[in-house]
Symmetry: C2
Subunit: 254 residues, 2 copies
């Protein structure tokens, strides 16, 4: 091995991946847009509900009001948000959310609908498995406060009661809340992120009633396992639940 100086293992194969990746280039503006989009797409604020006032929200996000306004304008243009002025006005989540862009951004070549590579699917599904299964397990291993238990159960019921067009959103909320119960604040944004990526994929395939019923049963198992403090059961239930979606996705997209 032709190393150049002191001791240590060869660096091959790993360093490149971390060093080479382009720096995120995170505009404050872009990041703000993403945050708002998450809030809407993941159902954290339901259609018809109001966001905090601009000045207030800007302060909470640590962003100038100008930048926040640009982000809102951008999402309003896309049909996600609606602003109303005057007293008791504000910025509201659109009552009817726009159909998501369906990815596939039209290759100039006109190829049917790829731009979703198998590698991307694997990436999302694998990461989701790790985060959600681990999160469910951690949640089941903690002692939950009564309000937490109540909110968890009501999230479950909300998912069970939802009809097809709001299912994706309510489902996301439930999963996100489970992650929140894991007790690692840093986990939540990661979960939200992978959930967004997953939803983009799910938007490309039909949502069938039997699948929903099945999901609801599994949700119940997961929640009960968490509430009764059985990490292994929660792990298994979540893993099985996710594998259903994974199979569905791979079947339709690969």
């Amino acid at each position: 091995m032709s190393r150049q100086s002191s001791a240590g293992p060869p660096t091959a194969g790993l360093s490149s991946d971390l060093l080479l990746g382009p720096v995120s280039g995170t505009n404050t503006f872009e990041e703000t847009v993403q945050r708002l989009l998450q809030t809407v797409r993941l159902g954290l604020i339901a259609p018809g509900e109001r966001l905090p006032a601009e000045r207030e929200l800007a302060a909470q996000l640590g962003v100038s009001r100008d930048t926040l306004r640009e982000a809102i304008a951008s999402l309003a243009g896309a049909g996600y948000l609606i602003s109303r002025r005057g007293r008791y006005g504000g910025t509201f989540v659109s009552n009817v959310l726009p159909a998501p862009p369906l990815l596939a951004e039209k290759n100039p070549t006109g190829a049917s609908h790829p731009s979703i590579t198998a590698a991307q699917i694997d990436d999302v599904l694998t990461l989701r498995d790790i985060l959600e299964v681990g999160g469910a397990r951690a949640a089941a291993g903690r002692v939950l406060s009564p309000p937490e238990r109540e909110l968890l159960w009501s999230s479950l019921e909300a998912a069970a009661a939802a009809d097809a067009d709001e299912y994706r959103r309510v489902d996301s909320r439930l999963h996100l809340y489970i992650g929140e119960l894991a007790g690692s604040p840093s986990l939540v944004p990661l979960l939200a992120d992978v959930r967004m990526r997953l939803n983009e994929l799910l938007d490309a395939i039909p949502l069938l009633a039997p699948n929903i019923a099945h999901s609801n049963k599994q949700h119940e198992q997961i929640v009960i396992a968490i509430l009764t403090g059985r990490p292994d059961a929660a792990t298994d239930a979540m893993r099985e639940h996710l594998s259903g979606t994974a199979l569905l996705l791979r079947g339709f997209l690969e």
Copy 2:
């Protein structure tokens, strides 16, 4: 329930966490510094080895050469990097890395060494458990190419052969490579990040020889489980391995 418009569950308790958090405010400069620091602290480029040339590295990172230079200068000032000019010069990782800052940034009050709250420790440890255990399991569930198997094994041997002062670095490398084998590119940066946070904590406690020996044995079990394709065994081995560190940390810091 005093809702305002259409159907859906109450939003209480969850939305705040995602919406309210301040936007990262990521300077390109700061981010570049972090990337370089990771590369050094996690042992991706060993002491004495060379970084790519400035112009080249800047291109890879998607950053102007000026910004990259500022980052390098900053790290050179802190003793992590050394630049040499002229042909066959370049930027090198310092042969003797500076002792890490030991956190605790000196409260004006002069309090001994807190600024590490129990919540922070739990956050890091929980997240690490989720990511590393999940990653090891995923890695064990994949078929690995011969070069991958070889590199994994040699990383293990490097960790076993390391002496105390380079152990942290080589250990990080091994764990990171296991994560890379999980097959989810997005996982690696997350792992690197949590690993950095963990190392900051570990730097505050002594590193004992028996611990190292013990770790090495566990590493072997993990790697073998991965190489032989036994996800459950890999999961258990990794979980046990991490619990050792977790106990150690909680004992010293809480």
